[in-house]
């Protein structure tokens, strides 16, 4: 009983501390010591219209590589914890297909989701979005048909290949920059014209690699969770 009140007191006290901390500074007028510098020079040096993309891939490229490796570790750990699947189980409820509307809707939505996903990935440096968001859309696109017809299978080996190749491409781009520019993941190939599709140097390539890797990773993670328990 005492732990319960203590926990509530802790949560409320923590919130109050943060409230005092955040109201001591004026809201809506940040200091922006680093942010203003980035805003001033990002368009000229990186060439991406989306400055958040410029920060994520150009100023903090190694951070993004670490993020990718964390996602990779999470997906691997999920596969390890849930165990290897020994083919599809033929248990009745699991393989029962969905209703007609769901099946027709998923057939209709699959190519649209692919198009939207690649649009989000490829325009990552121009409009909001990018590799991670587009990758999530691609993963959802590959899980939706399995949701509608559980008997359908998607090849895990192909996904592992796509994921590995995309990760290699990301690191290879970084190493190429290291060879040319003496800095890992430094933007190459010039900036191009601001706002054009082929601008921002290697940023679109990097985001394409990120999108394919995240999509394959999350899709294989989700598909592993759909697979039923295989007698452990």
């Amino acid at each position: 009983m005492l732990t319960r009140y203590g926990a509530l007191l802790f949560a409320a006290g923590f919130a109050f501390l943060l409230f005092v901390l955040f109201t001591s500074q004026p809201l809506g007028a940040p200091t922006m010591l680093a942010g203003q510098a980035v805003l001033n020079e990002a368009a000229g040096t990186v060439g991406a219209a989306n400055i958040v993309t410029a920060v994520v891939l150009a100023y903090r490229g190694i951070d993004t590589l670490g993020e990718l490796s964390i996602l990779f570790a999470a997906a691997t750990a999920v596969g390890l914890v849930l165990g290897r699947s020994h083919g599809k189980q033929a248990s009745g409820e699991a393989t029962e297909p969905g209703g007609f509307i769901l099946r027709a809707g998923s057939d209709l939505l699959f190519p649209l989701l692919l198009v939207v996903g690649f649009y989000i990935i490829v325009h990552g440096h121009l409009t909001p979005g990018g590799g991670f968001q587009g990758g999530v859309v691609l993963a959802a696109a590959f899980v939706l048909p399995v949701l509608a017809r559980p008997s359908e299978t998607v090849s895990h080996a192909a996904m592992a290949w796509v994921e590995g190749l995309a990760g290699t491409a990301f690191i290879a781009t970084g190493l190429a920059a290291l060879a040319v520019d003496h800095a890992f993941l430094a933007p190459l190939l010039g900036t191009g014209q601001l706002g054009a599709l082929l601008s921002g140097g290697t940023l679109p390539l990097l985001y394409l690699a990120v999108g394919l890797k995240v999509g394959a990773e999350l899709a294989s993670l989700l598909l592993r969770m759909t697979e039923e328990e295989s007698g452990t």
Binding site: R4, A7, L8, F10, A11, A12, F14, A15, L18, F19, F22, T23, L27, G28, A29, P30, M32, A34, G35, V38, L39, A42, A43, A49, N50, I51, V52, A54, V55, V56, R60, D63, T64, E67, I70, L71, A73, A74, A75, A77, V78, V81, L82, L126, T127, P128, F132, L194, G195, V214, L221, M225, E229, T232
Partner: protein, 159 residues
């Protein structure tokens, strides 16, 4: 955006964090703990983006038709929150898979039931009477002979 709106957002974000932490500590169900974790995470993300907000500014994306020198909100908290959201979903997936594994092993999601079953298992393996109370694990009975690899498990279950 008025002062009132910003203050409302701040209170909303802090309430989300408080609710998330409260649920994280008070819930007994593993699935609900995962949900509470994601609530607290959403609140923290909102707080970070709120810090970078600047009045009468546009999104940090250069558009055709806008001047290059327009005031923009701070892009750096946004980039950090982007990373945090993506990592959060990885954490959530891992936590859910661990919950599934625990459910398969112990047949329940309730932490208290799970702990008592775990202690029974450990006591069985050690060849001793199971503990009767969670707060006085070895009260009044002789300590069971524990072999070296079991020691770590036993400590984890009691602590």
């Amino acid at each position: 955006m008025s002062e009132f709106a910003l203050l409302t957002l701040l209170i909303g974000a802090l309430s989300l964090i408080a609710i998330g932490i409260g649920g994280l500590v008070l819930s007994r169900n593993l699935f609900r703990i995962v949900l509470a974790l994601s609530l607290a995470e959403a609140g923290a993300n909102l707080l970070l983006v709120l810090v970078g907000f600047r009045r009468d500014a546009i999104a940090p994306i250069i558009e055709q038709g806008h001047a290059l020198t327009a005031t923009m909100v701070d892009p750096i908290p946004q980039a950090m929150v982007l990373t945090a959201i993506v990592i959060g979903v990885g954490v959530q997936a891992l936590a859910l898979s661990l919950a599934i594994r625990a459910y398969v092993a112990y047949g329940t999601l309730d932490m208290n039931v799970m702990r008592s079953r775990m202690e029974t298992d450990i006591s069985d393996a050690a060849g001793a009477q199971p503990a009767t109370s969670q707060h006085a694990p070895a009260g009044g009975r002789p300590l069971p002979p524990i072999s070296a690899p079991r020691l770590a498990h036993n400590k984890g279950a009691q602590g």
